[in-house]
Every structure is written in structure tokens, then in C-alpha cells.
Amino acid sequence: MVMIAPRINGDTSSDVAGLAPMFASLTSKQHEVFVLVAENRSSKEIAGRLGVSESAVNQRIEAVRARTGFLPRAQLARAYRHYLSSGWSSETGRGGASGIGEGASPSAGIASLLHEGLAEERDSSVALLSLQPQEIGRAVPDVFIGSIGSLNRLAAMIIIAVGLLAGAMVALGVAQALSTLLSLSGLS
């Protein structure tokens, strides 16, 4: 529980530049939903508990996923659990029991989950929280991003083309040498 706190509550702005500020900026309705998402509840269950439609629940979840570069729901749930446990939510007064609507139960399950020694979850969530939202869901290396990224992409295509042509020439050379050898030895 305390492991993530120093990182999130660090002095520099870069320490808090991950998902925690994004979670802090969620609306109270989104917090309501995410407290239950963090308990690994299905959209249907959440809708039943909050007394809203399932599509409204999905809409709120998708809005948050869109802000994180479409992070998978399970990972968001983990990150939100750690966000709640980090102390960030109590500092900003958002999320957790404070953000949950009346009638919905405060997530007792969260505390138990956090105490269950989910070390690997904690590690992956620490990594997630340290990521900039726009970095999540990226399928290309950093070198292909940004202003010089396009130039690097063009360069990569040219290198691949040159490599292919060189490979083809080597293959042709080998084929020619082999056929010469075979004709010399009278095998063909």
C-alpha cells in the first residue's frame, strides 16, 4: 500500500505525470463506476448497483479508456486500485469512498485486494502510473514518434528496400554459382 505512495506523492511534477492526475480529474460519476471496476465487477453488476443502464456504465468506462490511449479495462482497474491506495485520491478529495454515490457501497473489496500481496500487480501498476497517458497503447518505438518520427519512418522503409534488394542479389548470386557448379560437375 505504501510502496506506490512515494512515487505518486513525489515533489516533482514528472512523478505525478502518469495516470494519477487523470484519475483525479474524473467526474464523480466516473469515480463511482471505477470504484466498482476496481473490484473487477462486470458492467452489468455495476449498472445494477448504481441504478443506471449498462450502456451508461460502458460509456463512462470508455471515456476514461479513451483518455488513457485505450488501456485495457483490467489494467485500468489495477491502476485505479493503486491510485486509491496511493493517498493521491485522499489528497485531492476525488475517488474512493468520497467519490462514490449514495446508495452504492464503498468498496470494501479494494482494501482486501490490496492486502492480498498482489506484488506483480503492484509492479505493473507502478510502471503504468509512471507512463504518460499518450504513451499507453503505443505500438511503435519512440524513434518513430514526434517531429522526426516521419523522417525515421521514411529512412526505415528505404533501409528495408535496400536490404531486400541486397538480399535478392545475394540469393541470385548464390543460385548462379550453384548452377555453374552443377553444370561443371555434369549433374544437371
Binding site: Q75, Q134, R153, L165
Partner: protein, 154 residues
């Protein structure tokens, strides 16, 4: 034997392209759909062209239709490659640049064997299909493993 293979190639190329395009429409995202669609369109147009205007000396010189289609395909691939949140268009771009190199070789090397030129113009299509197939599989796998992710770099 080689002639049989060449004939078989012509028979399977367009259906393979169509399968890839349908697969991309079904399970792929925008980059996969765009590139498989462009490739399928290109293969179909070439098949129609070959059917209507077949000539025996097709690969004796640079055919303007082949050249124009290859250039158009390169423009589409590079356009997608520069913006997509994917690596595979870069491979397709490299392959397509090499395909254009074959036309350049035909122009600059008069002694180039027509069969070699034919192979150089046709092989990239199969490489495109292999790359697209792998990319589609990787995309489906990634979506299953980690959920949706953006098609384009913002």
C-alpha cells in the same frame, strides 16, 4: 513446371488478396483495412488488365500500367506508414520501394532477363500478403491480450 507455377500464381493471387481484405474488414483496424484494400484493388486491376490486354512481350519493357499502379500503391502505403500506430506498413513500404526498383532496373538494364523482371514485379505482391497476414494476426492477438489500442499516432 515453372510455367505451371506461374499460371497457378495468377489464379491464387487475387483470391488471396480478397481473403486478406475480408479478414481485415472483419478483424482488422483502419491501417489493416486501408492497406489490404489498396493491395486487393491493385491486384484486381492488374488481373483485369492482363485479361484484357495480354501481350507476350509484357516484361520485355516497362509496362506503364504496372508502373502507375506500383507508384499509386507506394503513395498509399507511405501515407499510412507515416501516420499509423503500426510497424507493418514500414515493411510494406520497403517492399514497395524495392518493387519500384525493379522497374528502374528494367529501364536501365536492357539485357535484364524478362523472367527476372517478371519475378521482381510479382514477388512484392506475395511479400505484401505475407506481411499483411502476419500483421492482422498480430493485431488480433494484441487486441485479445491487451484490449483496443489506437490505429494512428496522434
Amino acid at each position: 513446371m515453372l510455367e505451371d507455377l506461374w499460371f497457378l500464381r495468377a489464379l491464387v493471387q487475387v483470391p488471396l488478396g480478397a481473403l486478406l481484405f475480408l479478414g481485415a474488414l472483419w478483424r482488422g483496424a483502419a491501417p489493416e483495412r486501408l492497406l489490404s484494400g489498396a493491395l486487393f484493388a491493385c491486384l484486381s486491376l492488374l488481373a483485369i488488365y492482363n485479361r484484357l490486354f495480354a501481350r507476350p512481350d509484357l516484361f520485355e519493357s516497362v509496362d506503364p500500367i504496372y508502373l502507375v499502379l506500383d507508384v499509386l500503391l507506394l503513395v498509399v502505403i507511405v501515407g499510412v506508414a507515416l501516420r499509423a500506430n503500426r510497424m507493418f506498413p514500414l515493411w510494406m513500404g520497403g517492399v514497395q520501394i524495392a518493387a519500384l526498383g525493379s522497374h528502374l532496373a528494367r529501364i536501365t538494364l536492357p539485357k535484364l532477363n524478362p523472367s527476372a523482371y517478371a519475378a521482381m514485379t510479382q514477388a512484392p505482391n506475395y511479400m505484401h500478403m505475407a506481411v499483411l497476414g502476419l500483421a492482422l494476426a498480430a493485431h488480433v492477438h494484441r487486441e485479445k491480450r491487451a484490449g483496443g489500442y489506437p490505429s494512428w499516432n496522434s
